[in-house]
Protein backbone atom coordinates (compact mmCIF):
# COMPACT_ATOMS: atom_id res chain seq x y z
CA UNK A 1 0.00 0.00 0.00
CA UNK A 2 1.32 3.44 -0.86
CA UNK A 3 1.93 5.75 2.05
CA UNK A 4 -1.37 7.00 3.43
CA UNK A 5 -1.94 10.66 4.15
CA UNK A 6 -2.06 11.87 7.71
CA UNK A 7 -5.53 12.56 9.03
CA UNK A 8 -4.54 15.12 11.65
CA UNK A 9 -5.95 17.98 9.57
CA UNK A 10 -9.37 16.35 9.45
CA UNK A 11 -9.53 16.34 13.24
CA UNK A 12 -8.78 20.06 13.64
CA UNK A 13 -11.61 22.35 14.79
CA UNK A 14 -14.11 22.74 11.95
CA UNK A 15 -12.94 26.23 10.93
CA UNK A 16 -9.42 24.97 10.34
CA UNK A 17 -10.11 21.40 9.22
CA UNK A 18 -9.82 19.80 5.83
CA UNK A 19 -11.99 16.92 4.72
CA UNK A 20 -10.78 13.36 4.27
CA UNK A 21 -8.11 12.94 1.59
CA UNK A 22 -8.99 11.59 -1.87
CA UNK A 23 -7.74 8.11 -1.16
CA UNK A 24 -10.63 7.60 1.27
CA UNK A 25 -12.94 7.79 -1.71
CA UNK A 26 -10.98 6.28 -4.54
CA UNK A 27 -8.38 3.84 -3.29
CA UNK A 28 -9.20 0.16 -2.93
CA UNK A 29 -6.74 -0.53 -0.13
CA UNK A 30 -8.21 2.29 1.99
CA UNK A 31 -11.66 0.95 1.12
CA UNK A 32 -10.62 -2.46 2.52
CA UNK A 33 -9.12 -0.84 5.57
CA UNK A 34 -12.27 1.16 6.25
CA UNK A 35 -14.37 -1.95 5.71
CA UNK A 36 -12.74 -3.57 8.73
CA UNK A 37 -12.50 -0.48 10.89
CA UNK A 38 -15.73 1.35 10.08
CA UNK A 39 -18.13 -1.38 8.97
CA UNK A 40 -17.17 -4.74 10.48
CA UNK A 41 -16.10 -3.45 13.88
CA UNK A 42 -19.30 -1.40 14.32
CA UNK A 43 -23.04 -2.03 14.09
CA UNK A 44 -23.79 -1.74 10.37
CA UNK A 45 -27.16 -1.83 8.67
CA UNK A 46 -27.68 -4.96 6.57
CA UNK A 47 -31.36 -5.15 5.58
CA UNK A 48 -34.83 -4.56 6.98
CA UNK A 49 -36.70 -7.15 9.01
CA UNK A 50 -39.72 -6.62 6.73
CA UNK A 51 -37.83 -8.61 4.10
CA UNK A 52 -38.51 -11.72 6.17
CA UNK A 53 -42.05 -11.16 7.47
CA UNK A 54 -42.98 -14.82 8.09
CA UNK A 55 -41.53 -17.63 10.13
CA UNK A 56 -39.13 -19.65 7.99
CA UNK A 57 -38.42 -16.83 5.53
CA UNK A 58 -34.79 -16.68 4.40
CA UNK A 59 -33.01 -14.18 2.17
CA UNK A 60 -29.37 -14.51 1.06
CA UNK A 61 -27.43 -11.24 1.18
CA UNK A 62 -23.82 -10.38 0.45
CA UNK A 63 -22.27 -7.80 2.72
CA UNK A 64 -18.85 -6.59 1.64
CA UNK A 65 -18.33 -9.83 -0.24
CA UNK A 66 -19.31 -12.02 2.71
CA UNK A 67 -22.17 -14.41 1.94
CA UNK A 68 -24.81 -14.12 4.66
CA UNK A 69 -28.45 -14.96 5.02
CA UNK A 70 -31.17 -13.50 7.19
CA UNK A 71 -33.85 -15.77 8.60
CA UNK A 72 -36.95 -15.56 10.75
CA UNK A 73 -36.64 -18.58 13.06
CA UNK A 74 -39.38 -20.89 14.32
CA UNK A 75 -39.33 -18.78 17.51
CA UNK A 76 -40.07 -15.70 15.39
CA UNK A 77 -36.62 -14.23 15.96
CA UNK A 78 -34.59 -12.50 13.26
CA UNK A 79 -31.13 -14.04 12.93
CA UNK A 80 -28.18 -13.62 10.60
CA UNK A 81 -25.81 -16.43 9.63
CA UNK A 82 -22.91 -16.93 7.31
CA UNK A 83 -24.37 -18.66 4.27
CA UNK A 84 -21.71 -21.35 4.26
CA UNK A 85 -22.15 -25.05 5.04
CA UNK A 86 -19.89 -26.35 7.80
CA UNK A 87 -19.11 -29.45 5.70
CA UNK A 88 -17.39 -28.43 2.46
CA UNK A 89 -18.34 -24.78 2.47
CA UNK A 90 -21.18 -24.89 -0.04
CA UNK A 91 -23.54 -21.91 -0.21
CA UNK A 92 -26.70 -22.98 1.60
CA UNK A 93 -29.33 -20.49 0.45
CA UNK A 94 -29.15 -19.29 -3.14
CA UNK A 95 -32.46 -17.51 -3.36
CA UNK A 96 -35.07 -15.93 -1.09
CA UNK A 97 -37.60 -18.56 0.00
CA UNK A 98 -39.59 -19.98 2.86
CA UNK A 99 -38.11 -22.87 4.82
CA UNK A 100 -40.77 -25.28 6.03
CA UNK A 101 -38.59 -27.62 8.04
CA UNK A 102 -34.82 -27.62 7.94
CA UNK A 103 -32.21 -25.88 5.80
CA UNK A 104 -30.75 -28.67 3.69
CA UNK A 105 -27.41 -28.12 2.05
CA UNK A 106 -27.78 -28.70 -1.70
CA UNK A 107 -24.45 -30.57 -1.83
CA UNK A 108 -24.42 -33.52 0.62
CA UNK A 109 -27.63 -32.63 2.43
CA UNK A 110 -26.40 -31.76 5.90
CA UNK A 111 -29.43 -30.23 7.60
CA UNK A 112 -29.60 -27.18 9.84
CA UNK A 113 -32.46 -25.82 11.90
CA UNK A 114 -33.51 -22.23 11.22
CA UNK A 115 -31.68 -21.20 14.36
CA UNK A 116 -28.47 -22.59 12.96
CA UNK A 117 -28.04 -25.94 14.71
CA UNK A 118 -26.70 -28.84 12.69
CA UNK A 119 -29.43 -31.41 13.11
CA UNK A 120 -28.58 -34.14 10.65
CA UNK A 121 -25.54 -35.38 8.75
CA UNK A 122 -26.79 -37.91 6.20
CA UNK A 123 -24.44 -40.81 5.45
CA UNK A 124 -21.58 -39.05 7.23
CA UNK A 125 -20.39 -42.31 8.79
CA UNK A 126 -20.88 -44.25 5.54
CA UNK A 127 -24.01 -45.21 3.60
CA UNK A 128 -27.03 -45.33 5.88
CA UNK A 129 -25.09 -44.03 8.88
CA UNK A 130 -25.75 -40.49 10.06
CA UNK A 131 -23.28 -40.65 12.92
CA UNK A 132 -19.54 -40.63 13.24
CA UNK A 133 -17.60 -40.15 16.46
CA UNK A 134 -15.47 -37.41 14.92
CA UNK A 135 -18.45 -35.38 13.80
CA UNK A 136 -19.77 -33.53 16.81
CA UNK A 137 -22.87 -31.77 15.56
CA UNK A 138 -23.07 -29.55 18.60
CA UNK A 139 -19.85 -27.87 17.45
CA UNK A 140 -20.83 -27.57 13.79
CA UNK A 141 -23.74 -25.18 13.83
CA UNK A 142 -23.86 -22.32 11.36
CA UNK A 143 -21.69 -19.33 12.13
CA UNK A 144 -24.01 -16.71 13.52
CA UNK A 145 -23.41 -13.00 13.04
CA UNK A 146 -24.38 -10.75 15.96
CA UNK A 147 -27.52 -8.91 15.01
CA UNK A 148 -30.13 -6.59 16.42
CA UNK A 149 -33.37 -5.18 15.02
CA UNK A 150 -34.15 -1.51 15.68
CA UNK A 151 -36.15 1.02 13.65
CA UNK A 152 -37.07 -1.82 11.31
CA UNK A 153 -33.41 -2.30 10.38
CA UNK A 154 -31.33 -5.45 10.91
CA UNK A 155 -27.99 -4.25 12.24
CA UNK A 156 -24.98 -6.55 12.35
CA UNK A 157 -21.62 -6.53 14.04
CA UNK A 158 -19.36 -8.81 12.03
CA UNK A 159 -16.26 -8.51 14.20
CA UNK A 160 -18.34 -9.74 17.12
CA UNK A 161 -16.69 -7.43 19.63
CA UNK A 162 -18.53 -4.11 19.43
CA UNK A 163 -20.31 -3.10 22.64
CA UNK A 164 -23.90 -4.34 22.91
CA UNK A 165 -26.22 -2.66 20.41
CA UNK A 166 -28.21 -0.88 23.12
CA UNK A 167 -24.98 0.52 24.54
CA UNK A 168 -23.56 1.55 21.17
CA UNK A 169 -26.79 3.30 20.21
CA UNK A 170 -27.93 4.48 23.63
CA UNK A 171 -27.93 8.22 22.92
CA UNK A 172 -29.92 7.92 19.72
CA UNK A 173 -32.30 5.34 21.20
CA UNK A 174 -32.96 7.77 24.03
CA UNK A 175 -33.41 10.69 21.66
CA UNK A 176 -35.88 8.77 19.54
CA UNK A 177 -37.51 6.71 22.28
CA UNK A 178 -40.86 7.92 20.91
CA UNK A 179 -40.25 5.91 17.76
CA UNK A 180 -39.12 2.72 19.47
CA UNK A 181 -42.32 0.90 18.59
CA UNK A 182 -43.56 -1.36 15.82
CA UNK A 183 -42.99 0.31 12.47
CA UNK A 184 -45.01 -0.99 9.55
CA UNK A 185 -43.19 -1.31 6.28
CA UNK A 186 -45.29 0.16 3.47
CA UNK A 187 -44.75 -2.85 1.18
CA UNK A 188 -43.32 -3.27 -2.27
CA UNK A 189 -43.72 0.31 -3.50
CA UNK A 190 -42.29 1.60 -0.25
CA UNK A 191 -38.85 0.23 -0.95
CA UNK A 192 -36.53 1.11 -3.76
CA UNK A 193 -32.84 1.03 -4.54
CA UNK A 194 -30.69 3.77 -6.00
CA UNK A 195 -27.28 2.87 -7.39
CA UNK A 196 -24.77 5.64 -7.09
CA UNK A 197 -21.34 5.95 -8.65
CA UNK A 198 -19.78 7.27 -5.47
CA UNK A 199 -18.12 6.18 -2.28
CA UNK A 200 -20.63 5.35 0.47
CA UNK A 201 -19.27 8.08 2.74
CA UNK A 202 -20.31 10.81 0.32
CA UNK A 203 -23.92 9.64 0.66
CA UNK A 204 -23.58 9.99 4.44
CA UNK A 205 -21.98 13.42 4.15
CA UNK A 206 -24.65 14.75 1.82
CA UNK A 207 -27.41 13.36 4.03
CA UNK A 208 -26.04 15.00 7.17
CA UNK A 209 -26.36 18.59 6.09
CA UNK A 210 -29.11 20.99 5.09
CA UNK A 211 -26.72 23.49 3.50
CA UNK A 212 -27.52 22.16 0.01
CA UNK A 213 -31.30 22.29 0.32
CA UNK A 214 -31.96 25.65 -1.40
CA UNK A 215 -29.89 24.67 -4.44
CA UNK A 216 -30.39 20.98 -4.82
CA UNK A 217 -33.93 20.58 -3.47
CA UNK A 218 -35.74 23.79 -4.40
CA UNK A 219 -39.11 22.06 -4.08
CA UNK A 220 -38.33 20.87 -0.57
CA UNK A 221 -37.01 24.27 0.34
CA UNK A 222 -40.40 25.86 -0.30
CA UNK A 223 -41.64 24.38 2.96
CA UNK A 224 -38.41 23.18 4.48
CA UNK A 225 -36.48 26.42 4.64
CA UNK A 226 -32.88 26.56 5.57
CA UNK A 227 -33.44 28.74 8.61
CA UNK A 228 -35.91 26.23 10.04
CA UNK A 229 -33.21 23.58 10.25
CA UNK A 230 -30.99 22.70 13.18
CA UNK A 231 -27.89 20.55 13.45
CA UNK A 232 -27.80 17.27 15.30
CA UNK A 233 -24.37 16.11 16.38
CA UNK A 234 -23.25 13.40 18.74
CA UNK A 235 -19.52 12.95 18.55
CA UNK A 236 -18.37 9.56 17.24
CA UNK A 237 -21.91 8.21 16.94
CA UNK A 238 -24.29 10.09 14.69
CA UNK A 239 -25.06 13.43 13.12
CA UNK A 240 -27.70 15.00 10.96
CA UNK A 241 -30.32 17.68 10.84
CA UNK A 242 -33.76 18.48 12.07
CA UNK A 243 -36.50 20.72 10.78
CA UNK A 244 -39.10 22.59 12.78
CA UNK A 245 -41.64 22.89 10.00
CA UNK A 246 -42.53 19.40 8.83
CA UNK A 247 -45.80 19.39 6.91
CA UNK A 248 -47.73 16.21 6.41
CA UNK A 249 -48.42 14.88 2.97
CA UNK A 250 -52.08 15.41 1.99
CA UNK A 251 -54.23 14.06 -0.81
CA UNK A 252 -56.71 16.28 -2.63
CA UNK A 253 -59.37 15.62 0.00
CA UNK A 254 -57.03 16.56 2.78
CA UNK A 255 -56.41 13.00 3.99
CA UNK A 256 -53.12 12.36 5.79
CA UNK A 257 -51.32 9.33 7.20
CA UNK A 258 -52.31 8.34 10.73
CA UNK A 259 -49.81 9.60 13.32
CA UNK A 260 -47.67 7.45 15.56
CA UNK A 261 -49.61 7.58 18.81
CA UNK A 262 -48.50 9.45 21.93
CA UNK A 263 -45.65 11.39 20.40
CA UNK A 264 -44.24 14.37 22.25
CA UNK A 265 -45.74 17.70 21.13
CA UNK A 266 -42.52 18.77 19.41
CA UNK A 267 -43.12 16.15 16.73
CA UNK A 268 -46.28 17.96 15.59
CA UNK A 269 -44.05 20.02 13.35
CA UNK A 270 -40.55 18.56 13.75
CA UNK A 271 -38.78 15.94 11.67
CA UNK A 272 -35.26 14.63 12.10
CA UNK A 273 -32.78 13.10 9.68
CA UNK A 274 -29.83 11.34 11.21
CA UNK A 275 -26.89 9.43 9.78
CA UNK A 276 -26.13 6.62 12.19
CA UNK A 277 -22.47 5.80 11.69
CA UNK A 278 -21.43 3.96 9.68
CA UNK A 279 -24.04 3.26 7.01
CA UNK A 280 -27.65 3.85 8.02
CA UNK A 281 -29.55 7.05 7.28
CA UNK A 282 -32.77 7.39 9.24
CA UNK A 283 -35.61 9.88 9.06
CA UNK A 284 -38.54 10.27 11.47
CA UNK A 285 -41.77 12.24 11.18
CA UNK A 286 -45.05 12.24 13.10
CA UNK A 287 -46.62 9.93 10.51
CA UNK A 288 -43.82 7.97 8.86
CA UNK A 289 -40.18 7.02 9.09
CA UNK A 290 -37.61 5.81 6.62
CA UNK A 291 -34.33 3.98 6.60
CA UNK A 292 -31.67 4.14 3.92
CA UNK A 293 -29.14 1.34 4.14
CA UNK A 294 -25.93 2.09 2.27
CA UNK A 295 -24.30 -1.02 0.92
CA UNK A 296 -20.80 -0.17 -0.32
CA UNK A 297 -19.95 -2.16 -3.40
CA UNK A 298 -16.52 -0.80 -4.26
CA UNK A 299 -14.64 2.43 -3.52
CA UNK A 300 -16.70 4.26 -6.14
CA UNK A 301 -20.00 2.36 -6.13
CA UNK A 302 -22.75 2.17 -3.54
CA UNK A 303 -26.29 0.85 -3.41
CA UNK A 304 -28.79 2.82 -1.39
CA UNK A 305 -31.68 0.65 -0.20
CA UNK A 306 -34.57 2.84 0.84
CA UNK A 307 -37.52 1.68 2.96
CA UNK A 308 -40.53 3.63 4.21
CA UNK A 309 -42.45 2.78 7.36
CA UNK A 310 -45.82 3.82 8.75
CA UNK A 311 -47.66 3.84 12.05
CA UNK A 312 -50.16 1.18 11.06
CA UNK A 313 -50.35 -1.89 8.92
CA UNK A 314 -53.10 -0.45 6.71
CA UNK A 315 -52.55 3.05 5.42
CA UNK A 316 -54.09 4.48 2.23
CA UNK A 317 -52.24 3.05 -0.74
CA UNK A 318 -52.49 6.18 -2.88
CA UNK A 319 -50.84 8.20 -0.11
CA UNK A 320 -48.08 5.63 0.28
CA UNK A 321 -47.40 5.78 -3.45
CA UNK A 322 -47.35 9.55 -3.39
CA UNK A 323 -44.98 9.58 -0.44
CA UNK A 324 -42.62 7.08 -2.12
CA UNK A 325 -42.71 9.20 -5.24
CA UNK A 326 -41.93 12.38 -3.31
CA UNK A 327 -38.98 10.85 -1.47
CA UNK A 328 -37.65 9.19 -4.58
CA UNK A 329 -37.58 12.60 -6.22
CA UNK A 330 -35.65 14.11 -3.32
CA UNK A 331 -33.12 11.28 -3.19
CA UNK A 332 -32.72 11.34 -6.95
CA UNK A 333 -31.92 15.05 -6.75
CA UNK A 334 -29.00 14.16 -4.50
CA UNK A 335 -27.46 11.67 -6.93
CA UNK A 336 -25.73 14.17 -9.26
CA UNK A 337 -24.11 16.05 -6.39
CA UNK A 338 -22.95 12.92 -4.62
CA UNK A 339 -21.57 11.52 -7.87
CA UNK A 340 -20.09 14.93 -8.69
CA UNK A 341 -18.20 15.00 -5.39
CA UNK A 342 -16.87 11.54 -6.24
CA UNK A 343 -15.58 12.76 -9.59
CA UNK A 344 -14.06 15.80 -7.90
CA UNK A 345 -11.96 13.53 -5.74
CA UNK A 346 -9.88 12.46 -8.71
CA UNK A 347 -8.31 15.93 -8.82
CA UNK A 348 -4.67 15.45 -7.89
CA UNK A 349 -3.74 17.15 -4.64
CA UNK A 350 -7.29 18.09 -3.75
CA UNK A 351 -6.91 18.79 -0.05
CA UNK A 352 -10.18 17.28 1.11
CA UNK A 353 -11.91 20.63 0.94
CA UNK A 354 -12.99 22.97 3.71
CA UNK A 355 -16.10 23.19 5.85
CA UNK A 356 -18.45 26.04 6.56
CA UNK A 357 -17.91 26.53 10.29
CA UNK A 358 -21.63 27.25 10.60
CA UNK A 359 -23.39 25.01 8.08
CA UNK A 360 -21.21 21.89 7.81
CA UNK A 361 -20.93 20.83 11.43
CA UNK A 362 -22.74 17.49 11.07
CA UNK A 363 -20.57 16.64 8.04
CA UNK A 364 -17.39 17.48 9.89
CA UNK A 365 -18.65 15.41 12.81
CA UNK A 366 -18.73 12.41 10.46
CA UNK A 367 -15.29 13.18 8.99
CA UNK A 368 -13.89 13.46 12.48
CA UNK A 369 -15.30 10.06 13.37
CA UNK A 370 -13.86 8.43 10.25
CA UNK A 371 -10.44 10.01 10.72
CA UNK A 372 -10.32 9.19 14.38
CA UNK A 373 -11.37 5.58 13.90
CA UNK A 374 -9.00 5.01 10.99
CA UNK A 375 -6.10 6.54 12.87
CA UNK A 376 -6.80 4.42 15.93
CA UNK A 377 -7.12 1.36 13.71
CA UNK A 378 -3.76 2.07 12.10
CA UNK A 379 -2.17 2.59 15.47
CA UNK A 380 -3.49 -0.74 16.75
CA UNK A 381 -2.00 -2.42 13.68
CA UNK A 382 1.46 -0.88 13.83
Amino acid sequence: MEKTATLDKVCLPIGKANGLPNEHYTCSSVFQEEKDILLFAKWSGLAVSAEIPNIGDVVPIHFQGIPLFIVRTKENKVKVFQNTCRHRGMILIDTAKSIEGAIRCPYHSWCYSTDGNLISTPHVGGPGRNLHEEIDRSKLGLTEVRSHVWMGVIWINLSGNAPKFEDSMKELMDRWADFDRPLFHGGKESSFTIEIAANWKLAVENYCESYHLPWVHPSLNSYSKLEDHYHIEYKNKFSGQGTKVYQQLKDKDGNVFPDFSNLEAKWDTAAEYIAVYPNVLLGVHRDHAFAIILIPDSPEKTNEHIHLFYSQEDTPEHLRLKNSEQWRLVFDEDVPVVEGMQKGRHAVNFDGGRFSPVMDNPTHCFHYWVANEVQNGRMRKS
Binding site: E100, P127, L131
Partner: protein, 77 residues
Protein backbone atom coordinates in the same frame (compact mmCIF):
# COMPACT_ATOMS: atom_id res chain seq x y z
CA UNK B 1 -37.68 -55.58 -3.98
CA UNK B 2 -34.94 -57.71 -5.49
CA UNK B 3 -32.82 -60.21 -3.61
CA UNK B 4 -30.11 -57.61 -2.83
CA UNK B 5 -32.62 -55.33 -1.12
CA UNK B 6 -32.86 -52.79 -3.91
CA UNK B 7 -36.30 -51.39 -4.69
CA UNK B 8 -38.15 -52.90 -7.61
CA UNK B 9 -38.12 -51.15 -10.93
CA UNK B 10 -41.51 -49.60 -10.41
CA UNK B 11 -40.52 -47.90 -7.14
CA UNK B 12 -37.20 -46.87 -8.57
CA UNK B 13 -38.99 -45.18 -11.47
CA UNK B 14 -41.30 -43.36 -9.08
CA UNK B 15 -38.31 -42.17 -7.09
CA UNK B 16 -36.66 -40.79 -10.20
CA UNK B 17 -39.84 -39.00 -11.25
CA UNK B 18 -40.23 -37.46 -7.78
CA UNK B 19 -36.59 -36.31 -7.95
CA UNK B 20 -37.27 -34.72 -11.31
CA UNK B 21 -40.37 -33.00 -10.00
CA UNK B 22 -38.57 -31.80 -6.91
CA UNK B 23 -41.38 -33.33 -4.90
CA UNK B 24 -39.62 -33.66 -1.57
CA UNK B 25 -42.57 -34.90 0.46
CA UNK B 26 -43.39 -37.62 -2.05
CA UNK B 27 -39.74 -38.53 -2.29
CA UNK B 28 -39.49 -38.92 1.48
CA UNK B 29 -42.43 -41.32 1.37
CA UNK B 30 -41.01 -43.34 -1.52
CA UNK B 31 -37.62 -43.68 0.17
CA UNK B 32 -39.36 -44.74 3.37
CA UNK B 33 -41.28 -47.33 1.38
CA UNK B 34 -38.02 -48.62 -0.08
CA UNK B 35 -36.59 -48.78 3.43
CA UNK B 36 -39.54 -50.67 4.89
CA UNK B 37 -39.54 -53.11 1.97
CA UNK B 38 -35.86 -53.87 2.06
CA UNK B 39 -34.84 -57.13 3.79
CA UNK B 40 -31.26 -55.87 4.01
CA UNK B 41 -30.64 -53.75 7.12
CA UNK B 42 -27.89 -51.59 5.59
CA UNK B 43 -29.84 -50.92 2.44
CA UNK B 44 -32.94 -50.17 4.49
CA UNK B 45 -31.01 -47.66 6.58
CA UNK B 46 -29.56 -46.07 3.46
CA UNK B 47 -33.05 -45.43 2.13
CA UNK B 48 -34.31 -44.31 5.48
CA UNK B 49 -31.50 -41.75 5.77
CA UNK B 50 -32.74 -40.22 2.53
CA UNK B 51 -36.34 -40.36 3.69
CA UNK B 52 -35.46 -38.76 7.01
CA UNK B 53 -33.35 -36.02 5.41
CA UNK B 54 -36.14 -34.98 3.07
CA UNK B 55 -38.68 -35.29 5.85
CA UNK B 56 -36.63 -32.83 7.90
CA UNK B 57 -36.43 -30.41 5.01
CA UNK B 58 -40.12 -30.53 4.14
CA UNK B 59 -41.49 -31.15 7.62
CA UNK B 60 -43.12 -34.49 6.79
CA UNK B 61 -45.52 -35.66 9.53
CA UNK B 62 -43.64 -38.98 9.76
CA UNK B 63 -40.24 -37.36 10.46
CA UNK B 64 -40.15 -38.71 14.00
CA UNK B 65 -40.90 -42.26 13.03
CA UNK B 66 -38.19 -42.21 10.34
CA UNK B 67 -35.84 -40.92 12.98
CA UNK B 68 -36.81 -43.72 15.37
CA UNK B 69 -36.11 -46.28 12.66
CA UNK B 70 -32.57 -44.98 12.27
CA UNK B 71 -32.06 -44.61 15.97
CA UNK B 72 -33.12 -48.19 16.56
CA UNK B 73 -30.30 -49.23 14.24
CA UNK B 74 -27.79 -46.84 15.81
CA UNK B 75 -27.68 -44.62 12.76
CA UNK B 76 -29.03 -41.48 14.39
CA UNK B 77 -29.16 -40.11 17.90
Amino acid sequence: MDACGNPDEDLEKKILVAHQNNDGLKLAELYAEAAYNSPNKNKACFFMVNAYTLALEYKHPKTQSFFQFLKKHDREN
